[in-house]
Subunit: 367 residues, 2 copies
DNA sequence: CTGAAAGCGCTAACAA
DNA sequence: TTGTTAGCGCTTTCAG
């Protein structure tokens, strides 16, 4: 039986409220009394029960973090950053994994709701309306998802996709493919929209393949299709898929980057370890984790509703609901190379030949 | 303001205790009443506050899981397995990361203690005595660590190291090196002990390098030393170090497996993605996560102390404190090859590249 | 089967 | 500065 506040009170000959104050409002108690209380507490191995404390203060000093898949190397740096940021502020992070299952997201938010002061929802796949509804149950901060009225920190994957496509274009590629990510992913839509726009602006064809599971096997399964569609350069939804694709192409005897160039997104640690080293769009995952925690905790601090506060109707003070956009950056490594040789012709001729209203399907004839 | 049990009671015209029973003891309430209550609850969006419930029942329906480093690919499969196993039993898993800092372990156990029904301590680096002390504060199940009297699930890394060394010996290597892991790691001691014994039994030299950080950079930093010590085959504390070592050797112009053979431990997903594919000792991480949760929950079920129970003195019923040993298995891939003198034997000895033994036969060490 | 009452461990007015 | 008194939201005797 762990010691309770009452045991400490008895042992130090004071009232329990004094013990309580000794811990949570030290300045309100006589230094001598305080040290005596602390000594007794120490001796008895007493530690305040945070759950009981939360019941009355309404503050658990915990935050929840829901991610789709801990095993996806994109998340751990984000998780670690969130944890360390939270710990600096004396908060703990409870990490939960949905296994890429949208239904699990809702369930987890409910389960966490009463045990945390807020939830960081990372790349949620739920509908906007469900997210809004959940946000009335517990403060939410979104990561990589935008919903009107809710705080969010996003990584500029649109910009990332654009620079990746531009890079490929600059290398002379004109037949591009995009490996789409999972259905319901906001990030995926951003990437697709930007990639399509950038390809069109560059006068290139872009075949969109997907949706697909955002995993290595999801990527390798697409090797055939990529080959068949005649693309000489591919942008993948994430590094895992890019790496999988390279594997798959390798199995087909297609070399990267000699035959096909591949670009990923995320810059996970792994992308430096595979051969060829992956060209990819670096995504500020750690910064996102830190920022999200900051936003949640700041919001949390301003949200305190005193005991027995009103019904908290729709007139609520939804103060600074910031939406932060973090920059991404193309990292060029070894998985991208020059496009087919004939391209030099065209490059010399017109440069970025903008505005092809009729995308001439695979007009380029290989030698 | 989320609805409380009182709101539901008022709305459905019953006493709060009836609402309570409708949720936690359905058979004790009239089906009609129950469905009316449930309907009201549904309408009000009421969900029982688990924290408040925990305060009185003493059961939070949460378990904690403390790992050294979420970013180490060894852990995610274990975490996911633990989560899914827990969820089947209506428990949640709170994952925390110590950042390889032993001091953080203690702090986290304390912080979690009151919010969970038990803690899974994964490869803890603390002293035995501290672990024992903490186990009096909250039920503990150890993973990859053995402390007398405490339930534990271990992976037989000793056996794994032995089979790795034997494999190397069989390939004709006589100058071996072991890349040691972090200080304080029980697993590391097991590996070293077995590797040393196996090498000696085979009449080979084994140089132990370490302790080292169990990371990729920890491994690559050792390339020089490995080279200098003249080893032709190396066993690393884990796959990450093995992969790092291969990188480092590559930078030195040393080829794997032609010049040096390398074996890892863990069989993380990454080990199939690097070139050469890593020969490694597969470790049943997922099974360990599942088993640990089972042990904790089973123990938890038997531990219920009724309200106002006695002081729970030293006469406690420490029932089935099992220590389970999970088997490991050598997976031969491409990072190991014949030793210096026996090139010609290869074809003769070769054969298909694997020797997956029987799946996890678990030995139970009695309490 | 349902209600009344007594708390779980703690904090937060309000007095003293 | 300290003690008293109410609870937080819920479960659990014990009556009825």
């Amino acid at each position: 039986m762990p010691a309770t506040i009452r045991d400490v009170a008895r042992a130090s000959g004071v009232h329990i409220s004094t013990v309580s104050r000794a811990f949570s409002a030290p300045h309100l108690v006589n230094p001598e009394t305080r040290s005596r209380v602390l000594a007794c507490a120490e001796r008895l191995g007493y530690r305040p029960n945070r759950a009981a404390r939360a019941l009355i203060t309404g503050r658990t000093h915990n935050v929840g973090l829901i991610v789709a898949d801990i095993a996806n190397p994109f998340f751990p740096p984000l998780i670690k950053a969130a944890e360390s940021q939270a710990r600096h502020r004396d908060y703990h992070v409870f990490v939960a994994d949905t296994n890429e299952d949208p239904a699990a997201e809702e369930e987890l938010v409910h389960a966490l709701a009463k045990q945390v002061d807020g939830v960081l929802l990372c790349s949620p796949r739920m509908s906007n309306s469900l997210i809004e509804q959940l946000s009335r149950e517990v403060p939410l901060v979104l990561i990589n998802r935008q919903v009107a009225g809710l705080p969010a920190v996003m990584m500029d994957n649109g910009q990332g996709a654009r620079s990746a496509i531009d890079h490929l274009l600059a290398l002379g590629h004109r037949d591009l493919a995009l490996l789409g990510g999972p259905r319901g992913s906001w990030t995926n839509r951003e990437i697709r929209r930007s990639a399509v726009a950038a390809a069109r602006a560059g006068g290139a064809d872009l075949t969109v393949l997907g949706p697909n599971p955002p995993t290595e096997s999801g990527g390798s399964a697409l090797a055939e299709q990529v080959h068949r569609c005649g693309a000489t350069a591919v942008l993948a939804y994430n590094d895992l898929m890019a790496i999988g694709l390279i594997e798959g192409l390798d199995a087909l005897g297609i070399r990267v980057p000699q035959d096909v160039s591949v670009v990923g997104i995320d810059d996970i640690a792994l992308s430096r370890l595979t051969r060829p080293k992956l060209t990819t769009v670096a995504t500020p995952a750690a910064a996102a984790g830190r920022t999200a925690v900051d936003m949640l905790l700041q919001r949390d601090a301003t949200t305190r509703a005193g005991r027995g506060a009103g019904r908290g109707g729709p007139g609520d003070d939804r103060r600074t609901t910031a939406q932060v956009m973090l920059q991404t950056e193309l990292v060029i490594r070894d998985s991208t190379g020059p496009g087919p040789a004939v391209e030099s012709h065209r490059a010399a001729a017109g440069g970025p030949d903008r505005q092809r209203t009729t995308p001439t399907a695979n007009a380029v004839v290989a030698p």
